[in-house]
């Protein structure tokens, strides 16, 4: 009798643990909806949302890689929309989005919408038959807000599938305006000036081997290497130009083409130059084991002066850092060969729909609109290349600069190349190859290896 009682106890305890685990999982699905209406939800001007129609109790789920504060900020954009249309928008941000979205789609458990950061992944989902075409209204919105080029990234085999949502600028160099002012350095506007400035810093500070002109770090766990691929892509845009860049990304020219070799060598003239890197951390090889989050921090200690990293690095500066044009940290545009040419490397996110329910289409259309882009930029932390966005709405100076660059008609923008390549290259051999390259491998050997790994079909 005693053993029976104990076993029942164990079964109940096990049941409780199991139940807790279940609720813990379902909590993120059910509890993630659009906030509590403190963002001026009550006095919403519903005529702005009249075009989207009214729905009773419909739920639309969005899957994305956006989490924590950024997710809260994004969910705030739906408060009025939910109130006026009656749609419950449920956002679910997860780590490992790239793998999970495919697993969910293959498992017949797809969300209604997904925010996809890579055109390559979008193409894979389209080719596997999961993504459906958006409504007429989304297409119109996207065409009004975004340039031809941005629309192309949401297009697979000539059919438009996904409107761009947000954008970020990758061609940024972070620096310390105060340190520049103390040393009398000017922000360079051409590549030659940039190199001259680097040499000047070596001459002024390089004696003890601690202070160097550049900082760098490409470690990122399983994704180690991606910051180096961004560097190479920026160099391809400058060395070979946007046309060659397009051919390279689509494999019309081989990955180990001489022009790509030259661009890689140009990146190496900074990243593999022991006089230039890696301030405050070590030599060139130490870049491979320095995480990209920490890579730029020696700027604050005066151990290095420049760090090439995207606009989103703003979030990495420690609390209390003055990020402004005269402060402790700010960014300048990574110059082109001359001051007039402005090759700009960008990245962005695209909203793809897994079904054509009316509620899904209404949310998708809202997210493609200029109103949404302005609303989102005003809340803060992100940039958009939607030309309806007023740069004055940006939440910081860096983001304002990024939006101005994104909207600059002279800028030649290209999307992050590794995100466009097949994942075996873009998330595979390109990352590993660049890590080996930083670790000292021969440039030609590395490029040949990446070329050999390009999928046949």
């Amino acid at each position: 009798m005693r053993t029976t009682a104990r076993r029942t106890g164990a079964a109940v305890a096990g049941g409780l643990a199991f139940a807790l685990a279940l609720t813990a999982c379902s909590g993120s699905d059910l509890g993630g909806g659009g906030g509590d209406g403190d963002e001026g939800g009550g006095d919403a001007a519903c005529e702005d949302y009249a075009d989207y129609g009214t729905f009773e109790g419909d739920e639309v789920t969005i899957l994305s890689s956006i989490r924590e504060q950024e997710a809260d900020q994004m969910e705030d954009t739906f408060v009025d929309f939910e109130e006026c249309t009656g749609i419950d928008v449920v956002h679910n941000g997860i780590g490992e989005f790239e793998t999970q979205v495919v697993v969910q789609a293959e498992g017949g458990n797809a969300p209604n919408l997904a925010i996809i950061p890579q055109p390559g992944l979008l193409a894979r989902l389209v080719n596997d038959g999961y993504i459906v075409e958006p409504s007429e209204q989304t297409v119109t919105n996207a065409q009004e807000g975004w340039t031809e080029e941005w629309l192309n990234y949401g297009t697979v085999d000539g059919t438009f599938y996904a409107a761009p949502l947000m954008a970020s600028v990758k061609s940024f160099v972070w620096y310390s305006p105060t340190a520049f002012a103390e040393n009398g350095y000017e922000v360079p506007t051409t590549w030659d000036e940039l190199i001259a400035l680097s040499d000047q810093i070596v001459a002024d500070h390089g004696a003890d081997g601690v202070v160097k002109p550049w900082c760098a770090g490409i470690e990122s766990g399983g994704a180690t290497g991606w910051p180096a691929t961004d560097f190479i892509e920026d160099m391809v845009l400058r060395e070979a130009g946007p046309e060659v860049y397009d051919q390279w990304v689509t494999h019309e020219i081989p990955f180990n083409d001489p022009q790509i070799y030259a661009a890689t060598e140009r990146a190496g003239s900074i990243l593999r130059n022991e006089d230039y890197v890696n301030g405050g951390i070590g030599d060139s090889r130490s870049i491979a084991t320095t995480s990209f989050n920490d890579g730029g921090l020696p700027i604050l200690d005066g151990n290095c002066f420049m760090y090439r990293m995207a606009s989103f690095y703003e979030a990495q500066w420690p609390e209390g850092t003055d990020v402004s044009p005269e402060g402790d940290a700010f960014a300048f545009y990574l110059p082109g060969d001359d001051a007039d040419s402005k090759p700009l490397l960008t990245a962005g996110e695209f909203v793809g729909a897994f079904d054509d329910n009316e509620a899904t289409q209404a949310v998708q259309a809202f997210m493609s609109s200029g109103e949404w882009a302005n609303l989102r930029v005003t809340i803060g932390g992100v940039t958009s290349a939607n030309n309806a966005v007023d740069p004055a709405n940006a939440s910081s100076d860096v983001l304002r600069l990024a939006i101005e660059l994104l909207q600059d008609p002279d800028a030649v923008t290209r999307f992050d190349g590794s995100d466009l390549m097949p994942s075996a290259v873009g998330a595979g051999s390109f990352w590993t190859g660049m890590t080996e390259w930083i670790d000292g491998a021969d440039t030609q050997t590395v490029l040949d290896q990446i070329e050999a790994s390009w999928p046949a079909s």
């Binding site: 139940a19 766990g221 994704a223 670790d439 290896q449």
Partner: protein
Amino acid sequence: MDFFLNDKFGQMLLVIIAFAALIAVLLAIAWAADKWVGKGRRWAALAVFGGPALLLLVVGLIYPAIRTFYMSFYDAGTNNAVGLQNYIFTVTNTGAVIAFRNTFIWVFLVPIASTLIGLIYAILIDRSRLEKLAKSLLFLPVAISFVGAGIIWKFVYEYRGAAQEQIGLLNAFITWLGFEPVRFLQDAPWNTLFLIAVMIWIQAGFAMVILSAAIKAVPTDIIEAARLDGVNSWEMFRNITVPSIRPSLVVVLTTISIATLKIFDITRTMTGARFDTQVLANQMYDYSFVFGDNGVGSAMAVVIFILVIPLVAFNIRQMAKNRSVRG
């Protein structure tokens, strides 16, 4: 009803009630099966008690295994059959040699080192005054996840150039002694050994706990008889302790081997499998989920499965043997 559907606490309560109801139904069926009279009694009991387990086994293990095996003969999107191509790729791709070599080193070193350290430690602290404290100290890392351990050790191994201030514990010590800082995670092939050290750090505690229990189970009359015969400590260890705990030793060795064959988290967290530290399980994950090639990933999973079979078989045979010895 609103409370149960929309409130988090309500949802939890609902799930608990549902689960309790399920348990009640299962117990009722089991009770009914127990009361069954007649020829089918044996089969009814078997179905009721074994059925759910078998069902879960089929859904959670057998079906996925068959599906993985099936997918391993197809291309990336499981659309066209490609024969043995994925298997050929698994053993011939540029990283294959390194992944197989490293996995072999892992599976060779980790079980032996962990078991040895655990065994020696267990004997040294056996019946000492601070045994419980000493045991908990070595056992602590077992409770840390592989990813957590990886992050901790990444800080221990952290490298800074010779001219810089060292922030990694080991390199701070090495430079304090006047030597050049070491790139623990970057210089192949030694970096694999430094990753292996982390796994040993985790597994030694597990080995120690099991072996310590086995040592305590050695009958005292054997030990006393040996003492009367005048054996020294080494002879006692060699001729009495080790043979007595041999079954436990084998189980510990094989269990750690199986865990090591699946090693994935430590390499992924600490080096991202770069600098020639790739191992089979991590390569399988890369191909399946990062590169989106289900065919090659499945083939690699099957290869790992085949490599595990002898270890599992040996483990099971050993456990069966133990049972027959004990009677």
